[in-house]
């Protein structure tokens, strides 16, 4: 798992005209990071009061800003961002996490380099992370921009005459390697040889009384977001794919009828050691889901909800506008996994919603609830220490990689204001401590509107 590493040492609270000064270093090496962009924005102001860059030694300094509370954002390409809300401080030491990289070479089974293959790092939830590399004529690739997390390297498509339908993982599909990035990793030599091995043919037919034509899509069961083959055929004609490597697949089919109504079907395919020539997909699998909208004071708006298939079904996302107090049904949905996003129609509110629903087997049993809420806040106190000012409190987004930092006062009280509704991890960090939030952080949900109360303890053995 990834860890956030942060050291805040010798923070000095200054009074009068405000000064910010400090140094930014790499979390994994301690080396200074030059050219970090530092944006200093007065709290509740729309634009920054000052922008500066760290020098070759990672240092920054700005003085004579009007006395106020400020939000300072530290960012640099290929590094995690950190945000601190504080009054003037000197002697800050900030640790940014550098994103990771994986490089290697792609060759065919005879060792010849394969150019123009599409190589990507996949997250455990099958999303593409970092850069996608169309590799060089020499077969070399390099994926970078990998945030802390766990990745597998996959060749998604390999063009040319030797193309085979299937996703090839490093070093092989039966025992793929998980690359862990916690900060600054530079993995080399992840060479992928696209094995020879047998390939087979799939032939499928749709069964439908209404559809005139059927769009077939073949996806692998492990990576359903990547289509391996797609073809539109008349309903009485078969869908055929050649050169498929053995493995588990899903065949997705959507039919179009003269009345423009849609019908869907899907079938699992287990390709072992022979051609499969008699797959039948019945286009009788239609799903529905209903949605409701809840408003938190002072939000008054409708919400635009968008459903996107996680699998590579063809088609535009389905979207619908939802009004408060009224159930809206979406019918004629494909039997797919969906990611859901929602946006308020207007205003400064945020929509929160379950990220994913699975309608592969059945329609949704209960309505999907969307909540529109204003920015939230966290009010907390640090207990169990007499010297709360020696600590900082770190808030990190659960699914992203930015951090916000604030400073408890002498009584241990602290506050994060203007927090978008969502899931977070929070923890207290002391001086010279490396932190593993998976063990020591507190998970919390910010729902917007009413402040969330949080009680934190200083880390064990940190002082």
């Amino acid at each position: 798992m990834w860890r956030i590493v942060l050291i805040v040492s010798a923070f000095i609270r200054l009074t009068g005209a405000t000064t910010f000064a400090g140094r930014v270093v790499e979390d994994h090496s301690g080396n200074p990071i030059p050219r970090v962009e530092v944006r200093i924005t007065r709290i509740h102001a729309s634009g920054p009061s000052a922008e500066l860059e760290t020098d070759a030694d990672g240092r920054f300094r700005i003085s004579e800003l009007p006395d106020s509370e400020y939000t300072i954002r530290f960012s640099k390409a290929d590094h995690s961002a950190v945000e601190i809300t504080t009054h003037g401080r000197a002697g800050m030491l900030l640790w940014l996490t550098r994103f990771g990289a994986i490089s290697g070479k792609i060759s065919d089974f005879e060792g010849h380099p394969i150019a123009n293959a599409q190589v990507a790092a996949l997250t455990p939830s099958e999303e593409i992370a970092g850069t996608v590399d169309m590799n060089a004529p020499s077969g070399e690739y390099r994926i970078y921009g990998l945030r802390p997390g766990s990745y597998r390297v996959a060749v998604l498509t390999s063009g040319g005459v030797r193309s085979r339908r299937g996703i090839a993982l490093y070093p092989n599909n039966s025992a793929p390697r998980d690359f862990t990035v916690s900060g600054g990793e530079e993995y080399t030599g992840a060479d992928i040889s696209l094995a020879a091995g047998p390939v087979f043919r799939l032939t499928a037919r749709a069964e439908s009384t209404e559809a005139r034509s059927v769009l077939f899509t073949l996806v692998s069961a492990e990576h359903p977001g990547r289509q391996l083959a797609q073809q539109l055929v008349p309903v009485d004609r078969p869908f055929t794919v050649e050169s498929v490597v053995p493995g588990n697949y899903e065949l997705l089919a959507s039919g179009t009828s003269p009345t423009n109504s849609s019908s869907f079907g899907r079938a699992p395919v287990n390709l072992v050691a022979a051609n499969l020539d008699d797959i039948h997909v019945r286009l009788d699998q239609v799903r529905s889901a209903s949605f409701s909208l809840q408003l938190r004071e002072p939000c008054v708006a409708d919400a635009l909800v968008e459903l996107k298939t996680i699998e590579a079904w063809l088609g535009r996302p389905t979207s619908v506008t939802i009004h408060a107090g009224k159930l809206v049904d979406l019918t004629a949905l494909a039997p797919a996994r969906y990611s859901i996003s929602a946006e308020p129609s207007r205003g400064d509110c945020y929509a929160t919603v379950t990220r994913e629903i699975d309608l592969t087997r059945d329609s949704a049993s209960k309505p999907v609830e969307i909540v529109l809420a204003p920015l939230g806040s966290i009010q907390g106190y640090l207990t169990g220490t007499a010297r709360a000012v020696d600590y900082v409190v770190v808030l990190t987004s659960r699914y992203g990689s930015w951090q916000r930092i604030c400073f408890p006062d002498a009584s241990g009280e602290f506050e994060f204001s203007a927090v978008p509704p969502g899931s977070y991890l929070a923890f207290a960090a002391g001086r010279d401590v490396h932190w593993a939030p998976s063990r020591q952080a507190t998970a919390l949900e910010v729902s917007g509107g009413t402040p969330v109360t949080l009680q934190l303890h200083p880390p064990d053995g940190s002082r």
Binding site: P48, E51, F99, N116
Partner: protein, 533 residues
Amino acid sequence: MKIAIILAVATLPLLGQTPQPVGAVSGRVLDADSGGPIADFPVANNVRTDDRGNFKLSGIKPGVFQIRLLGQRVWPELNITTVNVIAGQEVTGVEIRVRLDGEISGRVLDQNKDPVSGVPVHAIGREYYAGALRYFADTGTAVTNDRGEYVLRDVRAGRSLLLLMEKRKVYEKAISDAPADVELRLPAYRATYYPNASSTGEATFVTLRSGEHRTGMDIQVLRSPGFCVDATLMADGAPASLNFKVTDELTSSANLIPGSSSSGPIAVSSGPDGKIRLCDLYPGQFRIAALRRAGSSTELFGAVSVMIGKEDVHNLRVMATAPAMIPTEVVWDGSAPDAAAQAQFTLLSQSVTNDVMPTSAGRTRYPVPGTLSFPALPGVEYLLQPSLAPPAAFPNSYIKDITYGPLTVLNQAFRAAAGTLRVSIANDGGFVNATSPPGAQILILPVAVANEAILAAAMVSGQADSTGSYTSRSLAPGKYYVLATDSLIDRTPECIGRIWKARTRAQEVEIAPTVTATVKLSEVVSLSLVNNR
């Protein structure tokens, strides 16, 4: 290796439908720089050279046959070799000289030698175009990775190129929130040429040999304080909500690649008060355009140039107006030819600058004499391309002049002002018939041209066939230099400069009205051996 696109086109199809005897063509593909053979090079569909560069094309209809190379290993400009195929015979010894594309790689570093990631590096070429020397993005763009490294692939060899790091000027909002005090802003990244120059004049050119991979081409980016410009966008004399676009007039981003249809991104629009504030600008000259699009055409447009020195620029006004309709007359020079009633005149106008959408091509056909009008945006340069059809009816026609007010805009860029555009078409053109060694490039250069830019636009070139014969299109009567060369011709200042110098080794001919002047060229001039400058 990528698959090359090869077109083998037989022209002058034979009359008659009966099966014809066929001929063959064989020869070698050679490296234009080293003279060595190029193996495994695609010459036609399913025909590649062997290890010694040899190829053979068989089953070809007799007549004029063209081998056209348009491939990925050579910059895709037509490389045409014309051969006269004779039934039952093999034309041997055809030599095709090509320059293979190369590669340029390096890093972009800041003042502390720290790598700069995520910035684009462009290969910039220079060419005479529309009467001036202009800079173009030549071979695509590479973006630096997290280690500041870039690789430009498929780079054209044999040309002087500049390497330019230029951040795209795309603004996310109309009013930048950068601090008011310059001292409190982030420094800007200046457009920087290899190795660390702020202008083309101080930059170092790089010329690749055929197939060369040049490494270590590190660019050290220049920084400067980030300056802001605040402006009001106006239409019909009042502030208006308009799109806007900023281009660095001193870099290639100001010019459109000839023949391309892209005009780059436009940013968000201003509010109804027309106010914009653009920051991150560095010392130099910028063009701020205000525009409104309707579908694929530009409804309103206006642009101003602004110099950035050592401070912000305030209270700029950018007035956008509708395109002006340019009244145009097309006339015969002298008396009208017999076929005048068949005349179909067209006028294409292609914008040269990068901040407007290309104008929709005026494909409408007009009679001659006749009048027409076409839209032109204020402050935008256009290349006018008049033509007369059908060619068979007017074999002696040529565009004699295009005037706009008192000035000629023939072979030059056109800019809308006041006045009527007048295109005069003459019908007394003559021809040059040149005899030279087979396959030579023939150049026909008007004697009376003022400078290299006009020469590049006015010169006529073609290739002698395998019997060593070439006949030009219809040319204005007058004096010409005629020259045979074995070099590839382009419109770079290097090539045009050598042609300019080589005029002393050309033969001078005078074309009389409607007469074909013949010229024998025994010498084939190698332009690469002409001392440039």
